[in-house]
Symmetry: D2
Subunit: 228 residues, 4 copies
């Protein structure tokens, strides 16, 4: 994979605070922290900003979703080929705000492999995480949806979800990387995620909606350095 | 489980030939063959006929789908509780004509377990079968969609799909029952499915659209007796 | 049409209180009130109970939804042909809990006409009501979703929605019947709906979840008699 | 509106031939023809290329779809606000490859109006066109899906669909602009569309997949000049 771990992956969602010029600025900050602390940070901007950010910022860029079907008559949809051409090295799939059919995840993971695109498949429960692991994506992000956007980190509120996820996933797939998502906002949350045995975090509002985005990202990066 | 294996499971789909009075007649024939040959046969009629068939026929009745959400404000949807009250002992889920989100399958399987409802989760590839296996349903039916309704049995056209499915599923789940679906129409197909290591078949048009439904079912039942 | 107006149409939704034996009992009560007061009442039970209720109760039975495609390979879906064969004379379409694509509503209304099935298309705004009117169903039910299940009747809380709906619909379609939905629970609500110029009500929890269902239905029926 | 009619609107779909650098080149050609002939041409590129094309090309840019919900927690979806910020002046909605629920079209049209975004709502039948007209978008494109991508123009194969659409739409809405879509590839097709009474064309493969895109666009532009 073209990224290193532990990884801090920032989902820009459809947030007003992270689109266009503001999205580029946030990506620039992430790039600075990446370089200053040598901690792996990646961003998942809206489709509309992928090419701009991929061109101007030297950190990995992910799409938030992509369709597995081939380029063609699919008005209003974005293919895996399209995100790659725009400069993304990977994509989120099956985010809790964009759930997918099981056969579509299978198809997307297989096709992304052929195209050398990194897949980060989100899962809402330990069992779904294990199911996803059987499809062999590069990365799984476990995110209990009831904690997303709450600021209550799953690593603190329900650490047993993380440990159970790791247990179930490892029985099915030894290699897939596991990230912790949902409610991550502080360095402590990152440290907890790493100590529980996952290799990074997926977060969104904790950074995107922060008053001082740089400070939050610095806090997260320092926690990575102190924990590993 | 309240059913025995090998199992011949007949999906009535939304076929005109298997609704209302005609659906009841087909279920009656299935019951007669079941009793005459002591071979396990179950039927999955349309919602509309579940209670009628469950009341008048003494073979297991499955729904073709059911929603995992609780009874309530869900106009036009049928819950797991509703199919149980109507007399079904189980339900198909994720049929290729009714694909589901991975989180919905997880939710449905967990809830069905609590309600003591048997789940038959369909899968289109060996990898999806393994993913489904991680969700621990009672039964998986592997059905390559390109063969459904063709009369070309997967057990003959692509036996390696069945064997690969068994391999991948068993790494994840030792107990789940595996059925062979897609293109099954003759006793030979049933024999091939059993010899490959699955515990029965899921079929539809092969029986429902047959001129002589009794003869087809007899042929299938005899093949079970000759193979086991 | 095989029903008369004003109409009280009771949607059983997926309520636990209105399924199986309990659904039949509620339909029986509706039938008694219909006969006693000669006020038109119809029921929309779950698919699973359509045939039972249509067989044993002499009031119009509607489905809660039906698919416009032809009978065939559609596992887990119910066609217009199927609800007709089960004894329904009509169907709800596009309920706020089961929203449809505009082309599917068009297709369903056209096919229902050929099959002599009455269509009751729900709409959430005056504009959507007018759009639906252009598709020429038999009946439109205007139901602001924010009031559904609240017990706050649209006819009182937002009477201007009803009058605006009537205005916009009549510019497009002179014949379609308009029902008032959302929040209807009392005879007063029914009276208000009729006085505003609609020809009946669509309601659910107000009857289905009532302690004394007969009393509520009597109250609604009396209000019809006193208003017309 | 910020565009003039007759209009030639080119949908880039998810075609490989119209993404990234190739999409920009096609938009450049469209711009040249626009300026040379003073015939109104607009493009609807993939999300990923909207900002690039809007920045470098001086013709109207449309999105192929946009969600009506507000910016926020909607991973993998693009809002009306986002396409506007990226430089689009309008959006297609309800394309046959991206059909929408009737309430979503209503919501999108209303919100686009507030944001001063032009809406082009596609419709598959005259009745759906009339229904859409009741929602009062800026533009309706009538496209019988069975002709899309065939090279058989609706204006020739089924001119009665266009005339019936105009009749039904005008009863509901006097102002909405009507475009002809499906199967348009030549100047003759454009001329036929204008003579039947529509104010332009929506096309895709006819231009995007043409060997000589400039020549096709010139042919279309000349036909506009000769017809009006």
């Amino acid at each position: 994979m073209k990224i290193k771990f532990p990884l801090i992956l920032i989902n820009f969602k459809a947030y007003r605070e992270a689109i266009g010029r503001r999205g580029l600025e946030l990506a620039k900050i992430a790039e600075e922290i990446y370089k200053e602390y040598d901690v792996s940070i990646a961003v998942a901007p809206q489709y509309i900003d992928i090419s701009l950010i991929a061109e101007r910022v030297e950190i990995p860029v992910f799409a938030q979703h992509a369709e597995p079907f081939d380029p063609g008559s699919h008005t209003g949809f974005i293919t895996l080929e399209a995100i790659k051409e725009a400069g993304a090295i990977g994509t989120l799939l099956n985010h809790s705000e964009h759930r997918l059919r099981i056969d579509v995840i299978d198809e997307a993971v297989k096709k992304a492999k052929k195209l050398d695109i990194i897949t980060v498949v989100c899962a809402n429960t330990p069992e779904v995480s294990a199911a996803v692991a059987a499809l062999d994506p590069n990365i799984i992000a476990i995110e209990p949806p009831e904690l997303i956007g709450t600021g209550i980190p799953v690593s603190k509120a329900k650490p047993e979800i993380i440990t159970k996820t790791i247990d179930l996933v490892r029985k099915v797939n030894e290699n897939v990387v596991i990230l912790t998502g949902a409610g991550i906002t502080t360095g402590d949350d990152v440290a907890a995620a790493l100590k529980l045995g996952t290799q990074g975090v997926l977060l969104a509002s904790g950074v995107v909606k922060a008053k001082d985005k740089r400070k939050v990202l610095e806090d997260l990066a320092k926690a990575v350095l102190e924990t590993i």
